[in-house]
Symmetry: C2
Subunit: 190 residues, 2 copies
DNA sequence: GTCTATACCCGGATAGAC
DNA sequence: GTCTATCCGGGTATAGAC
């Protein structure tokens, strides 16, 4: 159980040298500040005070750096959801709140981790499942409902990030409405 | 400046000259085949058998071309939803099916139209509202519920497009579960 | 309305010296 | 581990001839 609950990000980090970890930290800051498009080998090197070619002594290519960031995003979301679960076991609303808060606290990283196919082969084993587990538990193991809730939450978050809702509208009510509906339907489709 | 923009009329295409319409058609084909990233002024010109600088006689810049595609995506989704509404008035399930089918039939165009802030100022007036109207009607005018349903539908579509669900899983049940839950909650939060 | 030529920027990545 | 020098490709956009 300790093994399951241990921070996967630290597991991922252990695959890296100390210097590589510093590079990833800089890359993350870059993405969080200016978006995934702003992450270039040159800008990353600049932030570290070195030249771009030096980065290739630590990572084979840019994709390898991005994989680390995607893993961090996934692990961060997993942690946030696990914490919410610990605070309010079984509460879909608490889970949704935590997911929303975490995503909106790191919108650019969220985009990086979610708007492209997952590099599953390169991620720490079990990370994807770990991120999904709290929601699945809150849905009493109903996989289909968990997927529906995930889609709702992701849709709300990503539409808000992209400014797709009319300007200035509060979204709290839409979240409540959606969560209540999806929570209330438990077991109605056995 | 030959990039004449004619007066806005009910049909989006009529805002453009004949040649400009051909260019947009080529741009759309490019995007639908290879994704939004593949749309460059060079590749667009190549497909038309002309050189890139010639495009600037018809459009002021690349963003103007993209705006036309985004408008087409929005209009296409609106048409699909209006047709579903005509076939099955008031049915959220029919609307969801139509939305899903249209999006998955043009996944790259859907991404272009949805994964960035809407260029509202440049779109045909009323288009955004028109696209939202069928869903709002199906929700009996409950705006918050309409937003929740939209988020759910968009989440399902975009997660599928990006290959985020486990490989090979059927998503029909998740759609049914979500729609049923959001449909069943009508009026429960007055 | 199309062309050529070009300016100017950006990107990822490699070779080889230190 | 970092550097310099470079390669190679790509992108948006403009000027001016025809």
């Amino acid at each position: 159980m300790d093994c399951v609950r241990r921070k996967v990000s630290s597991v991922a980090d252990q695959r890296l040298t100390a210097r590589a970890r510093e590079i990833v930290t800089a890359a993350r800051a870059l993405v969080e500040e200016a978006g995934p498009e702003a992450l270039t080998m040159r800008s990353l090197a600049d932030r570290l005070g070195i030249k771009a070619p030096s980065l290739y002594k630590h990572f084979p290519d840019k994709a390898a750096v991005e994989v680390e960031l995607i893993a961090q995003q996934l692990a961060g979301a997993a942690e946030a959801c696990e914490a919410a679960e610990a605070r309010a076991p079984g509460s879909l609303a608490a889970l949704a709140d935590a997911y929303r808060a975490h995503a909106l606290a790191h919108p650019h990283l969220y985009r990086l981790g979610t708007e492209r196919p997952l590099p599953r082969h390169a991620l720490p084993p079990g990370l994807e499942e770990r991120a999904a587990a709290p929601l699945l538990r809150a849905c009493g193991g109903e996989v289909e409902r968990a997927r529906a809730v995930w889609a709702f939450a992701h849709g709300m978050v990503i539409l808000e990030i992209h400014g797709r809702f009319p300007e200035g509208v509060g979204l709290g009510e839409a979240w409540k409405t959606g969560v209540a509906a999806l929570e209330g339907s438990a077991g109605e489709r056995p």
